[in-house]
Subunit: 230 residues, 2 copies
DNA sequence: CGTCAGGTTGACGCGTCTCAAAGTGGGTGG
DNA sequence: CCACCCACTTTGAGACGCGTCAACCTGACG
């Protein structure tokens, strides 16, 4: 189950590993285990003590927080190259579970911290990744606080397209591995509103809906909605 | 205008400086300028090229993003000890302006990066701060996406109280230096709803409103609302 | 005393939620 | 191969929370 080699890892270029040279990479690989989760499985849960960090190798995860009455907010989706876990916080801040099959590199928190401690480029890379994550979170706050349902869906689609193309998964059809309920809980909507808005965008010729995703027919219109130009 | 000494800086304990020893602190002080902004002044603006990092010394800033049609989302308020600026991103991701008078330590991006490059404890501290920031952002997403107006206001008050007490500014009266419009744009509400909700909480005996802030009369009730237990 | 920014309150409308029902497709067992 | 089930999605009708628009209040300042 261990990764054949980090050398030809498909997530190599985007992950923290990008900051390491050959020797360090082999050393880090010693610390890591390659783990796999089936669709729907929980990788870790909010408020549990964090004993490991993870780097996503393949697949999609939903990261979410729950309120006591079971309202859910999906704070993000993790894709290959994303790093999960925050040094300096003892507990997991959110839960993570697999959307479809997922594989991850798992690092014991302690030994990873020791490894990173003396490697400024790795730490810099982590600051950088955290910064990108933070920027995405802030952009998402604008979406949640100040956008209409239609703008939310359009923004989500455009943002998802850009993230996928950023890791070399761009294509004609935009795959949406997550369910409508996941999208709703990500955008602060209900499942019905998500469904209705998808339908409206299809009626208006902006998208075409398939079982596995959508095709952007009128990209400029979608981008305009996404930017908030009414 | 330069800080008398970092040694007796009131924000010392919470800021990135906490990671530095005496020698390093003096070296960093060489790089920094102490700057002051009057109420309402803009420290930097979204999408401008970032040439400096900042560490808040005193006062409160609002950090916000604007949509083209001038809808605004305040992504957070910065307090003493907070670090502004993200290594790895060339542009400012949001605008920042002073809420009341503010003083900051300003570091030229280049020289700060050079200084940090070889100091793992500083980098670790930055990862840590970024992590805390990210955790706050995710908590705020829950608020924006899944909470009612009353819960939003209660959460905001409780969160603000906790942040202030975290930097030694706790007290009977909870000062709110920002305007109603700022609170509205932070919580994804309108100014009228904020005002109405404040009034309702006061009618219900949860808070008492003053010109400069509020007093929490029924803290358990406020915390319950904040936690989302109906 | 007038002005002005900020805050409060009320009446009404709209966008989204809620509740309900029907449609779709994939999987399983007869 | 069909019948059935189940999870998921779509669609509709009505309710409701919050936004919109407008009026009024308050205190600071000249």
């Amino acid at each position: 189950m261990h990764c054949r080699s980090c050398h030809d890892c498909t997530a190599r270029g985007f992950a923290i590993c990008a900051a390491l040279d050959e020797t360090e990479l082999r050393e880090l690989a010693q610390l890591s285990r390659h783990v796999r989760f089936e669709s729907g499985a929980t990788v870790f849960a909010q408020a549990n003590i964090a004993t490991s960090f993870f780097s996503v190798h393949a697949g999609t995860l939903r990261l979410y927080k729950l309120l006591p009455d079971s309202r859910r907010q999906i704070v993000g989706f993790a894709l290959p190259g994303d790093f999960l876990g925050l040094p300096g916080l003892p507990h997991h801040e959110f839960s993570a579970d697999a959307v479809g099959r997922v594989t991850l590199c798992q690092f014991p928190k302690e030994s990873f911290a020791t490894f990173a401690e003396k490697r400024p480029q790795l730490l810099r890379r982590m600051v950088e990744l955290a910064g990108h994550e933070l920027a995405r979170a802030q952009e998402h706050m604008v979406l949640l606080g100040r956008r209409s349902a239609e703008e939310k869906i359009a923004s989500f689609l455009i943002g998802w397209r850009d993230r996928l193309s950023g890791i070399g998964r761009g294509g004609e059809i935009l795959p949406l591995p997550m369910k409508r309920l996941d999208i709703a809980d990500h955008l602060g909507l209900t499942i019905e509103t998500v469904s209705r808005t998808f339908s409206k965008l299809e009626r208006d010729g902006v998208i075409q809906i398939f079982a596995s995703g959508v095709v952007l027919l009128d990209t400029p219109r979608a981008e305009a909605l996404s930017a908030g130009v009414s």
